[in-house]
Symmetry: C2
Subunit: 243 residues, 2 copies
């Protein structure tokens, strides 16, 4: 740990909308569990959702896309805004002060980052394996955590995560969720497992197969020989992707 670092200049207030932030619950599926990305701030013990601020010249959507690109290296992420958190309990100047100090920022007593912030919350669905995780300048790690094994997060971030999962569940039917959490090609079993971890319950194998196939959204490809001593499953892809 360098102790001779110079104090860094703060994010310039005039470039950003004061009082407005975004937070993002980024879901991924590792083949077994549903996970989200959590970052840990330097030297503070604070765990938090990836988030950021809105430039005065960009829309909220654009700001979120830029932030995700930086953290994950991914473009064209599936994003859904789901709630804006604006309670008074979100005012936590001490927390922000601690983070800035621990990051050697030139931190004056009165600063826009210590003010009250409302947070526009999004959830994202990404392909677990295509991510290159990059901690931002405030944090020394960004890692996957299973949704039922989250650490204590700062401020209301546990609440935000919980609500994100609720909304994801409610949207499961109408949006083609699997498309974003799986690679381009996958087996029916993998798709079923995605649905199961999101819903938190086991689904009937045959019911699921027929239900999904009846939606007419999948293309069946070649069989997948895994080396297992059993019938090889077909590989599928979503119709809207590629062809």
């Amino acid at each position: 740990m360098l102790t001779t670092k110079k104090l860094k200049p703060l994010l310039p207030q005039e470039d950003y909308l004061p009082h407005v932030a975004y937070d993002c619950v980024i879901f991924g599926f590792d083949g077994k569990e549903l996970k989200i990305l959590i970052l840990e701030y330097h030297n503070t013990g604070y765990f938090a959702l990836p988030g950021g601020f809105i430039k005065v010249s960009e829309s909220i959507d654009t700001a979120v896309k830029h932030g995700l690109k930086e953290r994950t290296g991914l473009d064209n992420i599936y994003l859904e805004q789901f709630y804006t958190f604006g309670s008074m309990s979100r005012v936590a100047p001490d927390t922000m002060r601690t983070i800035l100090k621990a990051n050697d920022f030139d931190c004056v007593e009165s600063n826009w980052l210590f003010d009250r912030f409302i947070s526009v919350a999004y959830y994202a669905l990404i392909n677990y394996n295509s991510v290159t995780l990059k901690p931002d300048e405030f944090s020394d790690s960004i890692n996957w955590y299973a949704i039922d094994e989250l650490p204590d997060l700062m401020m209301d971030h546990n609440e935000i995560s919980k609500k994100a999962l609720q909304v994801l569940r409610a949207n499961l039917e109408k949006n083609l969720i699997g498309m974003n959490l799986l690679p381009d090609k996958f087996t029916m079993k993998e798709l079923k497992e995605v649905y199961e971890v999101i819903l938190g319950e086991k689904l009937g194998r045959t019911s699921f197969q027929r239900k999904i196939l009846s939606l007419d959204i999948l293309i069946r490809h070649e069989k997948l020989y895994t080396g297992g001593a059993h019938k090889a499953p077909y590989v599928y892809s979503f119709k809207t992707k590629n062809n």
Copy 2:
């Protein structure tokens, strides 16, 4: 119209969160159509959704409740936050300048109200007949408009209204919508009509009756003698209200 009015002081910036507003789509059912409340600003020709700003000392939810109380006289309104609008096309300083000038506000060139605003949008469901409408100090009328006969609204308020209706439709099943749009006691026919105007389609009389009754959320009361030459319908209320 008084022309000798003194210039009024502006909303003091230091009391409010800059760049953050709320807008509210207030639904009511007049027995025939689904309507929303629209206000018209003095001397501008601008129609708009009721909205307002957030005090630094209150949560967004609280701010919205206060605003609705002022406009409608109602407490305990059913409220649902459904989206936050934050695109760059929302920056419209000229519109705000016109409104302030037309209202004789003491309006300097550079003012926080001319800045970019993001808007947290809510929809409300209220009982059409229990409302006492009060225009605020910017507007000279607040009136009901059928959802398919809205005037041109300022900025993105038409888009906000449209999205509100979409979300209301999507939430129709899971939330007990009728409870908030109807008086405490109502007939099955009235409840069916509420569903029909929200969904924009006719529903089968008998299917609807059985579906709703099977949800086990209604209490059947006495019969209602309307004077019509036919069987008197039962009156119902929702279980969660009263008893």
